[in-house]
Symmetry: C2
Subunit: 163 residues, 2 copies
Amino acid sequence: MAMDELMSRALAALGEDGAPSVEVIHALADLDASTEPMTIAEAAAHLDVSPHTLRYYERAGLVEVGRDSAGHRVYDDAAIRRLVFLTRMRLSGMPMRDLQHYVALVDAGKQTEPERLDILLEHRDTIRRRIRELTLSLAATEYKIATYGGAAGPDVHVADTRR
Amino acid sequence: MAMDELMSRALAALGEDGAPSVEVIHALADLDASTEPMTIAEAAAHLDVSPHTLRYYERAGLVEVGRDSAGHRVYDDAAIRRLVFLTRMRLSGMPMRDLQHYVALVDAGKQTEPERLDILLEHRDTIRRRIRELTLSLAATEYKIATYGGAAGPDVHVADTRR
DNA sequence: CCTTGCCTTCGAGCGTGCTCAAAGGCCTAG
DNA sequence: CTAGGCCTTTGAGCACGCTCGAAGGCAAGG
C-alpha cells in the first residue's frame, strides 16, 4: 500500500509535463541501488549538487566519506544513500541544523528512532504547509494572469495563507 | 470561470485540515476592500510581516508610502494592495530583484503589460515546479515515516520487494 | 514637566547556505 | 620532463532577505 501510494504520488507530481517518471520512481524507491563507489565529481552529478557542496556537507558533519590512496574522496553506497536523503531534505527546506541533529541521532543508535520519527513527522507537516501556501499563491497568480489588465495596480488580493 | 477555478483551488488547498475556508473565500474575492489608512504597525499585522520589513520594502523601491503630519507612514488602500501582492509573491519565492523589476514596469505604464504578464507566467511555472518538487519530497518523507525502523541509516532504502 | 511609547532615518549586522580562492598533491598523456 | 586536469585543505567571501541599533521626534497621560 505504501508503495502504491508512493508511485501514484510520484506520477501525479510529474504527470503534467510528461516528465521522466520512470527515473523518478526509481530514484524514490531506489531499491536496487548498490552503486559502485564514486568520485566527488560523479557523486555531485548524481546528486545534482556541486562538489563544493558535498565537501561542505562533509565538513558540516552530515556524512563521512572515505579516501583512496591519493587522498581523494570515495563515495560508497552508504554515503550516497545518506546524501540522497540529505539532499532531498534540503530540497524540501529542512535546515542544515535539523539535518545535523538528525544524523547525530542516527549515529547515536537505535534508541533515538522515536525522536528521529518525530523530526520526520514535523518535517512532513512543514512540507504540507508549504505546499498549501504555494497552492494559494499559485491560484492568486493564475487569477491575476487570467484577469490581466483588469486591475489597476499590481494586486490580486487573495487571502493571507495563514498557517 | 477563472473565479470558480480559483475558489476550488483555494478550497482544495485548505480542505485537508478543515481550515477557515469562509475567511479564505472572502479574502480571495475581497473585491470590496477599501480599507482605511493604516499605521505601519497595523499594516504589518495585516500583512503578517514586521514593520522593519515594510520599511525595507519601501527603501527597496517596491512601494511608495505617504506620511502624516508627524512624519509617520500612512498605508492607504493602494499601498496595502500592492503590499499584499508583494508579500504573496515573496511568500511564493519570487526574489526581490524580480519584484523591483515588476514594479518598475508597473510604474512605467500600460505598455509594459505584456512583459509583466511574462513575468507572472514564468513565476507561475516556478511555483508549479516547486510544488512538484515538494510533492515528491513529501512522498519520500511519508514513505520513510511509514517504513520507519526498517532502515539502518537515514535513507529510504527499503527491503528488496519486487523486480 | 516628564515619562512612555511608537514612530523616524541611516547604516550596520546577521543567519543561512553555499561558493570560491589559494596553494599544493597525484597521475597520466605527450 | 612537463603540462593538464582533477583532487586536497583551509579560510574567506558572497547573495539574499531581512533585522537591529543608535539617536532622536512627536504626542498623550499622569
